[in-house]
Protein backbone atom coordinates (compact mmCIF):
# COMPACT_ATOMS: atom_id res chain seq x y z
CA UNK A 1 0.00 0.00 0.00
CA UNK A 2 1.46 3.32 -1.01
CA UNK A 3 1.40 6.29 1.31
CA UNK A 4 -1.44 7.98 -0.53
CA UNK A 5 -3.45 4.75 -0.70
CA UNK A 6 -3.01 4.45 3.04
CA UNK A 7 -4.15 8.02 3.57
CA UNK A 8 -7.25 7.43 1.45
CA UNK A 9 -8.04 4.28 3.43
CA UNK A 10 -7.62 6.25 6.66
CA UNK A 11 -10.10 8.85 5.45
CA UNK A 12 -12.65 6.14 4.73
CA UNK A 13 -11.98 4.70 8.15
CA UNK A 14 -12.19 7.96 10.12
CA UNK A 15 -15.20 9.27 8.22
CA UNK A 16 -17.00 5.95 8.24
CA UNK A 17 -18.42 6.69 4.81
CA UNK A 18 -18.22 4.66 1.65
CA UNK A 19 -17.16 6.89 -1.24
CA UNK A 20 -18.16 4.21 -3.74
CA UNK A 21 -21.80 4.90 -2.98
CA UNK A 22 -21.59 8.38 -4.51
CA UNK A 23 -23.46 8.74 -7.81
CA UNK A 24 -22.21 12.24 -8.53
CA UNK A 25 -25.55 13.98 -8.33
CA UNK A 26 -24.04 17.11 -6.84
CA UNK A 27 -26.71 17.71 -4.25
CA UNK A 28 -23.97 18.35 -1.67
CA UNK A 29 -22.43 21.09 -3.77
CA UNK A 30 -25.87 22.47 -4.50
CA UNK A 31 -26.53 22.71 -0.77
CA UNK A 32 -23.18 23.95 0.52
CA UNK A 33 -23.31 27.50 1.93
CA UNK A 34 -19.56 28.02 1.51
CA UNK A 35 -19.34 26.46 -1.95
CA UNK A 36 -17.89 29.63 -3.46
CA UNK A 37 -15.06 29.70 -0.91
CA UNK A 38 -13.96 26.17 -1.62
CA UNK A 39 -11.28 25.29 -4.15
CA UNK A 40 -12.22 21.60 -4.10
CA UNK A 41 -16.00 21.39 -4.17
CA UNK A 42 -18.00 19.05 -1.91
CA UNK A 43 -18.99 16.69 -4.74
CA UNK A 44 -15.33 16.36 -5.65
CA UNK A 45 -14.22 15.18 -2.21
CA UNK A 46 -15.07 11.57 -2.96
CA UNK A 47 -13.13 11.58 -6.22
CA UNK A 48 -9.99 12.63 -4.38
CA UNK A 49 -10.45 9.80 -1.90
CA UNK A 50 -11.29 7.26 -4.59
CA UNK A 51 -8.26 8.26 -6.65
CA UNK A 52 -6.00 8.24 -3.59
CA UNK A 53 -5.17 11.90 -4.10
CA UNK A 54 -5.38 12.82 -0.45
CA UNK A 55 -2.38 15.14 -0.65
CA UNK A 56 -4.28 17.58 -2.82
CA UNK A 57 -7.31 17.29 -0.58
CA UNK A 58 -5.17 17.92 2.50
CA UNK A 59 -3.68 21.03 0.91
CA UNK A 60 -7.10 22.34 -0.04
CA UNK A 61 -8.64 25.50 1.33
CA UNK A 62 -11.94 23.65 1.61
CA UNK A 63 -10.79 21.98 4.83
CA UNK A 64 -11.07 25.27 6.64
CA UNK A 65 -14.22 26.52 4.95
CA UNK A 66 -16.59 23.72 5.87
CA UNK A 67 -18.95 24.93 8.55
CA UNK A 68 -20.10 21.53 9.72
CA UNK A 69 -23.67 22.63 9.02
CA UNK A 70 -24.59 19.10 7.81
CA UNK A 71 -26.71 20.36 4.91
CA UNK A 72 -24.84 17.96 2.60
CA UNK A 73 -25.15 15.13 5.11
CA UNK A 74 -28.87 15.66 5.47
CA UNK A 75 -29.60 15.87 1.76
CA UNK A 76 -27.20 13.32 0.28
CA UNK A 77 -29.44 10.74 -1.38
CA UNK A 78 -26.70 8.12 -1.31
CA UNK A 79 -25.80 8.45 2.37
CA UNK A 80 -22.19 9.37 1.48
CA UNK A 81 -21.96 12.28 3.93
CA UNK A 82 -19.38 14.53 2.19
CA UNK A 83 -19.12 16.62 5.36
CA UNK A 84 -17.62 13.67 7.17
CA UNK A 85 -15.07 13.12 4.42
CA UNK A 86 -13.76 16.67 4.59
CA UNK A 87 -13.67 16.45 8.36
CA UNK A 88 -11.64 13.27 8.16
CA UNK A 89 -9.18 14.96 5.79
CA UNK A 90 -8.89 17.83 8.24
CA UNK A 91 -8.27 15.34 11.03
CA UNK A 92 -5.46 13.75 9.06
CA UNK A 93 -3.78 17.11 8.60
CA UNK A 94 -4.26 18.25 12.18
CA UNK A 95 -3.13 14.97 13.68
CA UNK A 96 0.10 14.93 11.67
CA UNK A 97 0.88 18.60 11.94
CA UNK A 98 -0.11 19.11 15.52
CA UNK A 99 -0.63 22.85 15.25
CA UNK A 100 -3.85 24.62 14.39
CA UNK A 101 -5.35 26.68 11.64
CA UNK A 102 -6.32 29.10 14.36
CA UNK A 103 -3.66 30.34 16.78
CA UNK A 104 -4.36 31.70 20.23
CA UNK A 105 -2.41 34.84 19.33
CA UNK A 106 -5.01 35.71 16.75
CA UNK A 107 -7.71 35.64 19.36
CA UNK A 108 -5.99 38.13 21.56
CA UNK A 109 -6.24 40.67 18.77
CA UNK A 110 -9.99 40.21 18.45
CA UNK A 111 -12.85 41.88 20.21
CA UNK A 112 -13.38 40.91 23.81
CA UNK A 113 -16.99 39.78 23.77
CA UNK A 114 -16.52 36.55 21.86
CA UNK A 115 -18.88 33.89 23.20
CA UNK A 116 -17.05 30.87 24.64
CA UNK A 117 -19.01 28.60 22.32
CA UNK A 118 -17.38 30.27 19.35
CA UNK A 119 -13.88 29.82 20.69
CA UNK A 120 -14.44 26.26 21.84
CA UNK A 121 -15.97 25.27 18.51
CA UNK A 122 -13.29 26.96 16.46
CA UNK A 123 -10.47 25.39 18.41
CA UNK A 124 -12.11 21.99 18.27
CA UNK A 125 -12.53 22.13 14.52
CA UNK A 126 -9.29 23.87 13.65
Amino acid sequence: MTKSEYAAARIEEISGTNPYRCMKCGKCSASCPTFSEMDIKPHQFVSYVLHDDVEALAASKSLWKCLGCFACVERCPRDVKPGRIIDAARQLVLRQRGNSYLSADEISKMEADLPPQLLVSAFRRW
Partner: protein, 274 residues
Protein backbone atom coordinates in the same frame (compact mmCIF):
# COMPACT_ATOMS: atom_id res chain seq x y z
CA UNK B 1 -41.36 17.17 36.70
CA UNK B 2 -37.68 17.19 37.46
CA UNK B 3 -34.97 17.29 34.79
CA UNK B 4 -31.22 17.34 34.83
CA UNK B 5 -30.22 20.58 33.22
CA UNK B 6 -27.02 21.03 31.27
CA UNK B 7 -26.42 24.75 30.71
CA UNK B 8 -23.17 24.63 28.75
CA UNK B 9 -20.27 27.07 28.72
CA UNK B 10 -21.83 30.10 27.09
CA UNK B 11 -24.98 30.16 29.16
CA UNK B 12 -22.86 30.94 32.20
CA UNK B 13 -21.65 34.22 30.73
CA UNK B 14 -22.41 35.63 27.27
CA UNK B 15 -25.75 33.91 26.91
CA UNK B 16 -26.87 34.24 30.48
CA UNK B 17 -30.23 35.53 29.30
CA UNK B 18 -30.99 32.24 27.56
CA UNK B 19 -30.37 30.45 30.85
CA UNK B 20 -31.92 32.83 33.36
CA UNK B 21 -35.20 33.33 31.53
CA UNK B 22 -35.62 29.58 31.24
CA UNK B 23 -35.06 29.17 34.96
CA UNK B 24 -37.57 31.92 35.62
CA UNK B 25 -40.17 30.16 33.45
CA UNK B 26 -39.58 26.67 34.83
CA UNK B 27 -41.59 27.28 37.97
CA UNK B 28 -44.61 28.52 36.07
CA UNK B 29 -44.47 25.45 33.87
CA UNK B 30 -44.16 23.05 36.83
CA UNK B 31 -40.79 21.82 35.80
CA UNK B 32 -37.66 21.72 37.84
CA UNK B 33 -34.26 22.19 36.27
CA UNK B 34 -31.56 20.61 38.38
CA UNK B 35 -28.06 21.59 37.38
CA UNK B 36 -25.45 18.96 38.19
CA UNK B 37 -22.70 20.17 40.51
CA UNK B 38 -19.96 19.40 38.18
CA UNK B 39 -20.47 19.37 34.44
CA UNK B 40 -17.88 19.85 31.76
CA UNK B 41 -18.06 21.70 28.47
CA UNK B 42 -19.47 19.49 25.73
CA UNK B 43 -16.87 20.74 23.27
CA UNK B 44 -19.19 22.88 21.19
CA UNK B 45 -18.92 20.71 18.11
CA UNK B 46 -19.55 17.03 17.72
CA UNK B 47 -16.35 15.21 16.75
CA UNK B 48 -17.17 13.57 13.42
CA UNK B 49 -14.21 11.21 13.26
CA UNK B 50 -15.26 7.69 14.13
CA UNK B 51 -12.04 7.08 16.04
CA UNK B 52 -12.34 10.17 18.23
CA UNK B 53 -13.47 9.02 21.64
CA UNK B 54 -11.69 11.32 24.06
CA UNK B 55 -13.53 14.41 22.85
CA UNK B 56 -16.83 12.73 23.54
CA UNK B 57 -16.11 11.80 27.16
CA UNK B 58 -17.36 14.99 28.78
CA UNK B 59 -20.72 14.41 27.15
CA UNK B 60 -20.71 10.77 28.27
CA UNK B 61 -20.05 11.86 31.85
CA UNK B 62 -23.04 14.16 31.81
CA UNK B 63 -25.20 11.45 30.27
CA UNK B 64 -24.04 8.86 32.79
CA UNK B 65 -24.66 11.14 35.75
CA UNK B 66 -28.16 11.84 34.48
CA UNK B 67 -28.78 8.13 34.06
CA UNK B 68 -27.92 7.57 37.71
CA UNK B 69 -30.48 10.19 38.68
CA UNK B 70 -33.03 8.56 36.42
CA UNK B 71 -33.88 11.87 34.82
CA UNK B 72 -33.94 13.23 31.31
CA UNK B 73 -31.18 15.64 30.34
CA UNK B 74 -32.35 19.04 29.18
CA UNK B 75 -30.33 21.63 27.29
CA UNK B 76 -31.10 25.11 26.06
CA UNK B 77 -28.12 25.68 23.81
CA UNK B 78 -28.47 24.24 20.31
CA UNK B 79 -24.84 23.14 20.26
CA UNK B 80 -24.99 21.26 23.56
CA UNK B 81 -28.21 19.64 22.39
CA UNK B 82 -26.51 18.56 19.17
CA UNK B 83 -23.38 17.16 20.81
CA UNK B 84 -25.18 15.40 23.65
CA UNK B 85 -27.73 13.77 21.38
CA UNK B 86 -25.14 12.58 18.89
CA UNK B 87 -22.77 11.23 21.50
CA UNK B 88 -25.72 9.50 23.11
CA UNK B 89 -26.57 7.99 19.74
CA UNK B 90 -22.98 6.75 19.41
CA UNK B 91 -23.18 5.19 22.85
CA UNK B 92 -26.34 3.43 21.81
CA UNK B 93 -25.38 2.31 18.32
CA UNK B 94 -21.60 2.31 17.82
CA UNK B 95 -20.04 -0.56 19.79
CA UNK B 96 -16.43 0.61 19.32
CA UNK B 97 -17.11 4.02 20.80
CA UNK B 98 -19.32 2.61 23.53
CA UNK B 99 -16.77 0.03 24.62
CA UNK B 100 -13.88 2.44 24.52
CA UNK B 101 -15.67 5.16 26.47
CA UNK B 102 -16.93 2.74 29.09
CA UNK B 103 -13.50 1.23 29.56
CA UNK B 104 -11.92 4.63 29.83
CA UNK B 105 -14.43 5.93 32.37
CA UNK B 106 -14.56 2.55 34.11
CA UNK B 107 -18.33 2.59 34.10
CA UNK B 108 -19.99 -0.42 35.63
CA UNK B 109 -22.63 -1.19 34.53
CA UNK B 110 -21.63 0.33 31.22
CA UNK B 111 -23.43 3.34 29.86
CA UNK B 112 -25.36 2.35 26.73
CA UNK B 113 -27.24 5.47 25.79
CA UNK B 114 -30.08 5.04 28.26
CA UNK B 115 -30.46 8.74 29.04
CA UNK B 116 -33.03 10.72 27.11
CA UNK B 117 -31.68 14.03 25.87
CA UNK B 118 -34.20 16.80 25.31
CA UNK B 119 -33.95 20.32 24.10
CA UNK B 120 -35.99 22.73 26.20
CA UNK B 121 -38.23 23.25 23.18
CA UNK B 122 -38.93 19.53 23.13
CA UNK B 123 -39.86 19.74 26.81
CA UNK B 124 -42.30 22.50 25.92
CA UNK B 125 -43.75 20.48 23.06
CA UNK B 126 -43.72 16.93 24.43
CA UNK B 127 -43.85 17.31 28.22
CA UNK B 128 -45.63 20.58 28.91
CA UNK B 129 -47.51 20.67 25.61
CA UNK B 130 -48.01 23.81 23.55
CA UNK B 131 -51.71 23.78 24.32
CA UNK B 132 -51.01 23.88 28.07
CA UNK B 133 -48.39 26.53 27.50
CA UNK B 134 -50.90 28.66 25.61
CA UNK B 135 -53.24 28.49 28.59
CA UNK B 136 -50.49 29.60 30.96
CA UNK B 137 -49.62 32.66 28.91
CA UNK B 138 -50.62 35.81 30.78
CA UNK B 139 -49.06 38.42 28.50
CA UNK B 140 -49.59 37.13 24.97
CA UNK B 141 -47.27 38.66 22.41
CA UNK B 142 -50.18 39.56 20.22
CA UNK B 143 -49.37 41.32 17.01
CA UNK B 144 -45.70 40.50 16.97
CA UNK B 145 -44.47 38.85 13.81
CA UNK B 146 -41.67 36.53 14.71
CA UNK B 147 -39.32 34.63 12.46
CA UNK B 148 -37.99 31.39 13.92
CA UNK B 149 -34.32 30.88 13.25
CA UNK B 150 -33.36 27.24 13.67
CA UNK B 151 -29.87 27.18 12.22
CA UNK B 152 -28.18 23.81 11.81
CA UNK B 153 -27.54 22.27 15.17
CA UNK B 154 -31.13 21.81 16.28
CA UNK B 155 -32.16 20.00 13.13
CA UNK B 156 -29.41 18.13 11.40
CA UNK B 157 -28.79 15.27 11.00
CA UNK B 158 -32.52 14.72 11.35
CA UNK B 159 -32.21 10.97 11.60
CA UNK B 160 -30.12 11.18 14.77
CA UNK B 161 -31.47 14.30 16.45
CA UNK B 162 -35.12 13.35 15.89
CA UNK B 163 -36.01 16.94 16.72
CA UNK B 164 -38.26 17.97 13.87
CA UNK B 165 -38.48 17.78 10.08
CA UNK B 166 -35.05 19.16 9.17
CA UNK B 167 -36.31 20.77 5.95
CA UNK B 168 -39.65 22.08 7.17
CA UNK B 169 -39.58 22.31 10.95
CA UNK B 170 -42.48 23.69 12.92
CA UNK B 171 -41.65 23.42 16.61
CA UNK B 172 -40.55 27.05 16.95
CA UNK B 173 -43.51 28.24 14.89
CA UNK B 174 -45.83 26.30 17.18
CA UNK B 175 -44.02 27.83 20.14
CA UNK B 176 -44.50 31.30 18.68
CA UNK B 177 -48.20 30.63 18.22
CA UNK B 178 -48.46 29.34 21.78
CA UNK B 179 -47.11 32.60 23.21
CA UNK B 180 -49.64 34.53 21.17
CA UNK B 181 -47.45 35.87 18.39
CA UNK B 182 -47.58 35.21 14.68
CA UNK B 183 -44.88 33.04 13.15
CA UNK B 184 -43.27 34.21 9.93
CA UNK B 185 -42.11 31.38 7.75
CA UNK B 186 -39.14 32.14 5.56
CA UNK B 187 -36.94 29.75 3.62
CA UNK B 188 -33.57 30.35 5.28
CA UNK B 189 -34.61 29.51 8.80
CA UNK B 190 -32.62 26.27 8.61
CA UNK B 191 -29.57 27.70 6.81
CA UNK B 192 -26.24 28.04 8.57
CA UNK B 193 -25.31 31.41 10.15
CA UNK B 194 -21.64 30.95 9.33
CA UNK B 195 -20.68 29.56 12.72
CA UNK B 196 -17.05 29.75 13.76
CA UNK B 197 -15.96 31.05 10.39
CA UNK B 198 -16.50 34.49 11.90
CA UNK B 199 -13.10 34.21 13.54
CA UNK B 200 -11.27 33.79 10.24
CA UNK B 201 -13.49 35.08 7.45
CA UNK B 202 -15.92 37.43 9.15
CA UNK B 203 -17.28 38.64 5.83
CA UNK B 204 -18.75 35.25 5.03
CA UNK B 205 -20.95 34.77 8.11
CA UNK B 206 -21.93 38.40 7.79
CA UNK B 207 -23.19 37.79 4.27
CA UNK B 208 -24.95 34.61 5.31
CA UNK B 209 -26.68 36.34 8.20
CA UNK B 210 -27.65 39.18 5.91
CA UNK B 211 -29.34 36.67 3.61
CA UNK B 212 -31.18 35.08 6.52
CA UNK B 213 -32.34 38.37 8.04
CA UNK B 214 -33.17 39.90 4.69
CA UNK B 215 -35.38 36.96 3.86
CA UNK B 216 -37.11 37.01 7.26
CA UNK B 217 -37.68 40.75 7.03
CA UNK B 218 -38.90 40.36 3.47
CA UNK B 219 -41.60 38.00 4.69
CA UNK B 220 -42.58 40.55 7.31
CA UNK B 221 -40.79 39.46 10.47
CA UNK B 222 -40.25 42.09 13.17
CA UNK B 223 -37.85 39.99 15.16
CA UNK B 224 -36.08 36.64 15.18
CA UNK B 225 -35.80 34.01 17.86
CA UNK B 226 -32.99 31.53 18.31
CA UNK B 227 -31.71 29.07 20.87
CA UNK B 228 -28.05 29.17 19.84
CA UNK B 229 -25.58 31.67 21.36
CA UNK B 230 -23.30 31.41 18.35
CA UNK B 231 -26.14 32.16 15.94
CA UNK B 232 -27.08 35.05 18.21
CA UNK B 233 -23.53 36.37 18.02
CA UNK B 234 -23.31 36.15 14.26
CA UNK B 235 -26.79 37.53 13.61
CA UNK B 236 -26.10 40.49 15.87
CA UNK B 237 -22.89 41.41 14.14
CA UNK B 238 -24.63 42.10 10.88
CA UNK B 239 -25.58 45.58 9.83
CA UNK B 240 -29.32 45.13 10.19
CA UNK B 241 -28.90 44.57 13.90
CA UNK B 242 -31.33 47.30 14.85
CA UNK B 243 -34.00 46.79 12.23
CA UNK B 244 -34.44 43.11 13.02
CA UNK B 245 -33.58 42.33 16.64
CA UNK B 246 -32.80 38.77 17.70
CA UNK B 247 -33.99 37.26 20.96
CA UNK B 248 -33.48 34.00 22.75
CA UNK B 249 -36.73 32.10 22.72
CA UNK B 250 -36.67 31.89 26.51
CA UNK B 251 -36.82 35.65 26.81
CA UNK B 252 -40.05 35.78 24.81
CA UNK B 253 -41.36 32.87 26.83
CA UNK B 254 -40.65 34.72 30.06
CA UNK B 255 -42.37 37.79 28.70
CA UNK B 256 -45.46 35.82 27.72
CA UNK B 257 -45.59 34.06 31.06
CA UNK B 258 -45.25 37.37 32.84
CA UNK B 259 -42.01 36.52 34.64
CA UNK B 260 -39.69 38.71 32.63
CA UNK B 261 -39.61 41.45 35.23
CA UNK B 262 -38.40 39.03 37.85
CA UNK B 263 -35.73 41.21 39.53
CA UNK B 264 -33.27 38.37 39.75
CA UNK B 265 -33.48 38.00 36.04
CA UNK B 266 -33.29 41.62 35.04
CA UNK B 267 -30.36 42.21 37.33
CA UNK B 268 -28.36 39.42 35.81
CA UNK B 269 -29.61 40.24 32.40
CA UNK B 270 -27.92 43.61 32.49
CA UNK B 271 -24.50 42.11 32.66
CA UNK B 272 -25.24 39.09 30.53
CA UNK B 273 -27.47 39.98 27.67
CA UNK B 274 -25.43 40.42 24.52
Amino acid sequence: MKFSYYPGCTLKNKARALDQYARACAGVLNIELEEPDNWQCCGGVYPLGRDETAKKLSAVRALQETKEKEQALVTLCSACHHVLKRVNDDMRHVPEIRDKANRYLELEPPYQGETKVLHFLEVLRDVVGFETLRKKVTHPLTGRRIGAYYGCLLLRPGKILQFDDPENPKILEDFIRAIGAEPVIYPYRNECCGAYLSLKDPALPAAMCEKIKGSAAGFGADLLVTSCPLCMYNLNRSETKDTLPVYYFTELLAEALGVKEDPAVSEKQEEGNP
